[in-house]
Amino acid sequence: MAERASDRVVRLLGMVAFLDRHEDASVEELARQFGVTSDQVMADIDTLWVSGTPGYLPYDLIDFDFSSYERGVVRLTESRNMTRPLRLSAREGVALVAALRALDAGLAGALDDERAAVVRSALGKLTAAVGDAAGTVDVTLTLAAAPAVAAALAAALRDGRRLHLRYVNAADVASERDVDPIRLVTDTDRSYLLGWCHAVGGERLFRVDRILAAHVLDEPAEQHGATGAGEFAPGDDGELVTLHLTSRARWIAESTPVQAVRNHDDGSFEVDLRVVSPAWLRHLVLQAAHDVLEVRPAAVAADVARTARAALAAYGPLAARTAEDS
C-alpha cells in the first residue's frame, strides 16, 4: 500500500529538522534514524531538493551540498525556515503516553531495573512535552504471571537463552518441555509466550498463567526461522464449531481467533471456530454460559452439558444448599 501523504510529509520535515542538528549524516544513518530504506531516503532528498517557496528558483528551494551528496553524505545548506521539530498532535501524544503508562504498570514484572528506569524516563519526558491531556486513555495490561516465571521469561528473552517449562494445557494436563522463547505477548486480558517448542518441534503459544515453573537454561535459544504467523491466526485444523451468542459476549469475537462472525438483527451473533482442543472449547462455553444461546454441532453441546452435569453432581448437597438459600 502506498504511504500516506501526511506520513511522508512528517518524515520530510523530520529529516530537515534532524539534518539541521546533525551535520553530515550519511544516507544509511538517515535510513536507520527514520526506519526506512536508503532508496526511500534518496527519494525523500530528491523531493526536498525541488521543494521551496513559490517561484521555485534556485534560491527559493531547500538545498543540499551536492559534492557531499555524491559521497553519500547529506549536508543541509538551505532549510527555508523549516528546521523546527513538529509538536505532537493531541492524539499522537495520548497514544504514546497511554501505552508507556501501561508498560510501566503492567509489564513491570517482565522488566529489570534498567529497562523499567528507561520506560519511566521516557514517560516523564513525553508527559512533560504533551501535557496533562494524556489522561483521556487508560490502558491496563495483564501479565498474569507468577513473579518468578515473569522474571525467567524476561531474562531468557533478553539474553537469548532456552527455557525449561512446566506447563499445564487447556485439558489440565501438565508436562515438561524445553522452549526457545520468541516473544512475550501481553494484552489487557493475559499474556502468552510464543516459543519454539522442542517437545513438538514447532512454534507454540503458551498461556503465561499456565506456566507452572520456568528455568533459564545455559543453552542459547536457536533461531528457527520463526514466522509468528501462528500467534493468533486460526488454523485450518480442528473441528468447525459454531457458537450462537448474545450481544454481551462480543468479547469472544474480539479475543478469540474466530473464522467468521455473523450478526443477527436482534443483536445476537454467531461465531465459527476451529477447535483443536475440546477442553479449550469446553472452558470457553462454560465461562460464557450465560451468553451462549446454542452450540453446534449438537455432539459438542452435549459434551459441554455432560461436563457441567458432572460438576453439579460433584457439588452434591452444596449445590442444593445454595439453591435453597436463593
Binding site: G35, P54, A99, L111, V118, T136, L157, L184, T307
Partner: protein, 344 residues
C-alpha cells in the same frame, strides 16, 4: 509538460509557502503560485484539494491561521506560525526511543497505529540515533482495537465535545440513543469502555465500545463541558476496578487444576475445617483443600468453572453461586433429546 505532483510534495510546498509568506497568502495565491495546485482541473477540484490539505496539516498538529484584511472582512488569507507549533525541547536517548517504538507498536487499532508511527517520526527527528531497541526485545504488548468508534470518541473526549451514540444495553438488549459527555476511554479485561456523563440520565455511566452500534456523532461545539472532577471519574471507574484481595477456599482433585494450585497461599487463620463439616466433609474427602487469592468474584468463577468437577468452590458462597449458575446454564445447552433421556 506538467506531471502530476505527489500529494506529499504539494503539502510540503504549501507548508513552506505559508511559513515563509510575508503576512498571509490568499487562496487564489495558493492556487496560482504553490507547486501542485495548478494541477486542479476545476474550481471545485481546487477547493477540495485545498480543504483536504488544510485538514491534513491540522491533523499533523500544524493548523493554518486565518488572517483577515482589516479593511475587508471577506478578504482573508492564511499563514502558518511554526514557532507556535514546535515540539518543546525533548532530549530522548536511543534507549528511550527504543521503548517508545515498543509503546507505538502496542496499538492494534489502525488509526492509533498511524498516529503513533507519525509521532515516532517526529520524535526521531530530535532524538539520538536508534540502536538500543534490543533493550526491549521479545516484549510485545498489545492493546486490541476499540473498533471504528474508538478514534472519534477519543477526539471528542480530548476536545470535550458531547457525542450521541446508539447503545445496546447489556441486560435488556434494548437499543437506545444516548447523549454522553465523554471523559475517558479505558482498556480493561474484556475490552474497551467509555466513561462519561450520561446527559439523559444525568449521571455518570460507562459504555462498552463493543455495544455501541453505528457511528459516533458529535453534538455542539468543543469545550462544551468542564473536565470531570477526579472523584467523579473515580466513582464511574469503580465498577471496572478489581476489589480488595480476598481468599477463596477450593477442593481440588489430586493432580488437577495445577495452574490454579500453583497460586495457592497458606490457609488464613480463620479457615474452617471443611473435612469435618457435616455437609461438605464427604465431598472434600479425596480432594486437596487449597486457598487462593482473588480480587474479582466473576473472574475467579469463570476460571474455575472450566475445570468441571475437578474443582469445587467451598468458600466464598458468592463465587460458588456464580460457578453453579454457569454450570446450570451449560446443562441447558444439551440438545433436547439428551435432556429428555436424562429426565425420563
Amino acid at each position: 509538460m506538467a506531471t502530476q505532483i505527489d500529494p506529499a510534495e504539494r503539502l510540503l510546498n504549501l507548508l513552506i509557502a505559508l511559513v515563509n509568506t510575508h503576512g498571509r497568502m490568499t487562496k487564489e495565491q495558493v492556487r496560482t503560485s504553490v507547486a501542485g495546485y495548478a494541477d486542479a482541473p476545476s474550481d471545485e477540484a481546487f477547493e477540495r484539494m485545498f480543504e483536504r490539505d488544510k485538514d491534513t496539516l491540522r491533523e499533523l498538529g500544524i493548523p493554518l491561521v486565518t488572517v483577515t484584511n482589516a479593511g475587508h472582512g471577506d478578504d482573508f488569507g492564511y499563514r502558518v506560525d511554526l514557532d507556535a507549533y514546535a515540539l518543546p525541547a525533548i532530549d530522548l536517548t536511543s534507549a528511550e526511543l527504543g521503548v517508545l517504538t515498543l509503546a507505538a507498536q502496542t496499538w492494534q487499532d489502525r488509526t492509533m497505529r498511524g498516529d503513533t508511527a507519525r509521532a515516532l517520526t517526529k520524535l526521531r527527528a530530535v532524538g539520538q540515533a536508534p540502536g538500543a531497541s534490543e533493550l526491549v526485545t521479545g516484549l510485545a504488548p498489545r492493546v486490541r482495537s476499540g473498533g471504528t468508534v474508538f478514534a472519534p470518541l477519543l477526539d471528542a473526549a480530548q476536545a470535550r465535545q458531547v457525542v450521541r451514540i446508539t447503545y445496546r444495553a447489556a441486560n435488556t438488549g434494548e437499543v437506545r440513543q444516548r447523549r454522553v459527555e465523554p471523559w475517558q476511554l479505558i482498556a480493561r479485561r474484556g475490552g474497551w469502555v467509555l466513561i462519561g456523563w450520561d446527559q439523559d440520565r444525568a449521571a455518570p455511566r460507562s459504555f462498552r465500545l463493543s455495544r455501541i452500534e453505528g457511528s459516533v456523532r458529535t453534538l455542539g461545539e468543543p469545550g462544551a463541558f468542564p473536565p470531570p472532577a477526579p472523584e467523579q471519574v473515580e466513582r464511574a471507574m469503580a465498577a471496572w476496578r478489581d476489589g480488595p484481595s480476598r481468599i477463596a477456599t477450593l477442593a481440588l482433585l489430586p493432580e488437577r487444576a495445577e495452574a490454579t494450585r500453583v497460586r495457592a497461599v497458606e490457609a488464613p487463620p480463620d479457615a474452617r475445617d471443611w473435612a469435618s463439616d457435616p455437609v461438605a466433609g464427604p465431598l472434600v474427602a479425596g480432594r486437596d483443600v487449597v486457598h487462593v487469592v482473588y480480587r474479582s468474584e466473576w473472574e475467579l468463577a469463570e476460571e474455575l468453572v472450566g475445570y468441571g468437577d475437578a474443582v469445587l468452590v467451598l468458600d466464598p458462597p458468592e463465587v460458588r453461586d456464580h460457578v453453579l449458575a454457569l454450570l446450570t446454564q451449560a446443562v441447558a445447552l444439551a440438545p433436547d433429546d439428551e435432556r429428555g433421556e436424562r429426565r425420563g
